[in-house]
């Protein structure tokens, strides 16, 4: 089981190595979800589904604690499309590896993979992709084998604001990378 300081180290690494050298709250949440669900990192979070995708308030708590410790820094910034958060790492990379300890050491390749695969996604794309993965895993645990169209239909019922084409396109992209498990 990971310790708080190790998890804060992982959050710091994610922020520090993201393409922009910082992440928003949506990105941080969904990166942690992918890391745990797609790469098996033992972060100990319990994600459940909301209309805005998989979420666990424990990630925000860790973020708050990381800020209190002086490892993470969070500011409200103005995006072209509105206001959001900018989370950056406040410690040097060499200190981060000490904080992240075994957790960071064991999963550094997996974290790098998440950043490579999803680092350039917009917040909306992250929300959609993570919801597709969540619905796919639900089907898997119910021992269902579903088509990509069925998976997209289920996600569309949760997120009618996304068009069928958008959802299908994202699902196909995940499927091409072998990230869906229940899709036949």
């Amino acid at each position: 089981m990971s310790s708080l300081i190790e998890r804060v180290g992982v959050l710091g690494y994610l922020a520090q190595n993201a393409p922009a050298r910082w992440v928003g709250r949506t990105a941080l949440m969904k990166f942690c979800y992918f890391l745990q669900e797609l790469r098996g990192a033992r972060l100990g979070y319990s994600f459940t589904l909301y209309s805005y995708g998989p979420f666990d308030s424990a990630v925000l708590s860790d973020l708050g604690e990381g800020e209190a410790l002086g490892v993470l820094r969070e500011e409200v910034i103005s995006y072209p499309s509105g206001y959001g958060y900018q989370i950056s790492c406040a410690v040097a990379p060499e200190n981060l590896s000490e904080l992240g300890g075994e957790l960071l050491q064991n999963y550094q390749d997996e974290i790098d993979w998440v950043i490579r695969e999803f680092g350039n996604y917009s917040a909306a794309d992250l929300e959609l992709a993570s919801t597709l993965v969540y619905a796919d895993r639900e089907a898997l645990s119910a021992e269902e084998e579903i088509s990509i169209a069925e998976l997209s239909r289920r996600v569309h019922e949760v997120k009618p604001r996304f068009s069928n084409d958008q959802i299908l396109h994202q699902a196909e992209s995940l499927e091409r990378r072998n990230l869906l498990s229940a899709v036949a």
Partner: protein, 426 residues
């Protein structure tokens, strides 16, 4: 049974709470009546004697508050609900009842003494993640409340399956568009926390948890998060200070009540005693074969076993009120250097340390909630961008160390040595 009849329950927080016949049938079922035998705040009465209230009254309060929130959002945000979530009049009426049922049943899966014992819920499939009480609630709804949900005459108007309620509780894609309302039950600004802050404050006799519930309700609405386009629960600008007070109420309740050093000591003892009392030291799983066994665990059963002298050292400490003593605490907002000092202290005290409790482990821990405020001239902005107080509020990451009372003097001497040494080196 009279489907058209309603029933009023007196509530010290909300005045009267009105239930329809269907809901009254549901709360009459044994799994819900069990909540009368589960205290909301575990052994907090050892510090605040008034804290004897139960999950039963809180559950009614959450249903009432969630309904006020639902009605306010439906009234203020009808257009966006129709355009973004494809709701119509019937759909909104249907999901109002669904939200009421989910709010009413959200805590039906709690174990004895509520959150205090949650650490003893088993691991999921032997992995790192533990089951949460919400998963027990969903399982109980499916297995033990299916009949009363699906076969009550009132359900002819809705056609609900027990699974619809469970899906909303556990957060599943099967909840479909209704998932939007999950924020009212388990979200950043939910009916659960609004009710428990007010209710806990009332029973304990403190003012820390009070805030202007009605002003929050009056200003709540569906808000589109511009950066990702998602629709979430937020507030209009007029509710800014009432919501600020809600966040601060949670902060003060955490520091003054939920993470009170003696209250936390009783959580340690309860967990320790339950480890002795439960078969294999963990609660039964929320599976068909084990759920009935789980439902047999309530405060009364635990208290009976403790009265019989069971529960080992911790059980004895609970019954004799001879709790562990808090010997050392890091600051409420601890820096890395404070954690280094903690490490030194732990090394010096060695086996004298009987327990270590970080704030991060508490169910009531304080993160920074993501609540959006909408003004007429500006788009949605995070609450903290309007509130200097909240912008500077840091999460409590304190760590408390405990020793046995009989070792307290010895531990204090050692602690003074290490802290004095530390002071000299400064």
């Amino acid at each position: 049974m009279n489907p058209s009849k309603s029933y009023e329950f007196r509530c010290p927080i909300h005045g009267f709470i009105v239930l329809n016949d269907w809901e009254r049938e549901i709360i009459s079922q044994p799994p819900f009546q069990r909540l009368r035998r589960i205290r909301q705040l575990a052994w907090t009465d050892q510090v605040y004697p008034g804290a004897m209230h139960s999950r039963f009254e809180h559950s009614l309060g959450v249903m009432h508050t969630a309904t006020l929130m639902y009605d306010a959002i439906r009234e203020r945000s009808r257009e966006i609900l129709e355009s973004e979530l494809a709701y119509n009049q019937d759909g909104l009426g249907r999901d109002r009842q669904l939200v009421r049922l989910a709010a009413l049943l959200h805590d039906v899966g709690h174990g004895p003494f509520s959150h205090a014992a949650e650490e003893l819920l088993p691991n999921i499939n032997g992995g790192d993640g533990k089951y949460k009480h919400e998963q027990y609630s969903a399982a109980i709804v499916r297995a033990h409340l299916k009949d009363v949900i699906e076969n009550h005459p009132s359900n002819a108007n809705y056609g609900f399956k027990a699974d619809d309620v469970a899906a909303l509780l556990e957060g599943s894609s099967r909840a479909k568009q209704a998932l939007f309302w999950r924020d009212l039950i388990d979200g950043q600004m939910d009916a659960d926390r609004m009710d428990y802050l007010l209710r806990d404050s009332y029973h304990i006799g403190v003012q820390y948890g009070r805030f202007d519930l009605h002003r929050v309700i009056q200003t709540i609405e569906a808000v589109r998060f511009e950066h990702d386009g998602s629709l979430r629960v937020g507030i209009s600008y007029g509710g800014l200070h009432a919501t600020e007070a809600l966040v601060l109420a949670r902060y003060f309740m955490f520091t003054q009540v939920y993470f009170h050093k003696t209250r936390v000591a009783y959580d340690i003892h309860l967990r320790g005693a339950l480890k002795e009392l439960l078969p294999n030291g963990v609660f039964p799983k929320p599976t068909t074969s084990e759920l009935l066994d789980y439902l047999k665990w309530d405060d009364w059963r635990v208290l009976g076993l403790l009265t019989d002298g069971k529960g080992g050292e911790h059980g004895h400490r609970l019954t004799t009120r001879n709790h562990f003593r808090n010997i050392y605490s890091t600051p409420e907002v601890s820096k890395l250097s404070d954690m280094d000092e903690l490490k030194l202290v732990k090394e010096k005290l060695g086996t004298l340390v009987a327990a270590e409790e970080p704030a991060s482990k508490s169910w009531y821990k304080t993160g920074t909630p993501d609540i959006r405020v909408v003004s007429e001239t500006k788009g949605p902005r995070p609450l903290s961008s309007y509130s200097t107080v909240l912008a500077n509020l840091k999460a409590n990451n304190q760590v408390l160390l405990y020793v046995r009372p009989e070792h307290a003097d010895d531990a204090r001497k050692k602690l003074n040595e290490v802290l004095k040494k530390d002071e000299q080196s400064d």
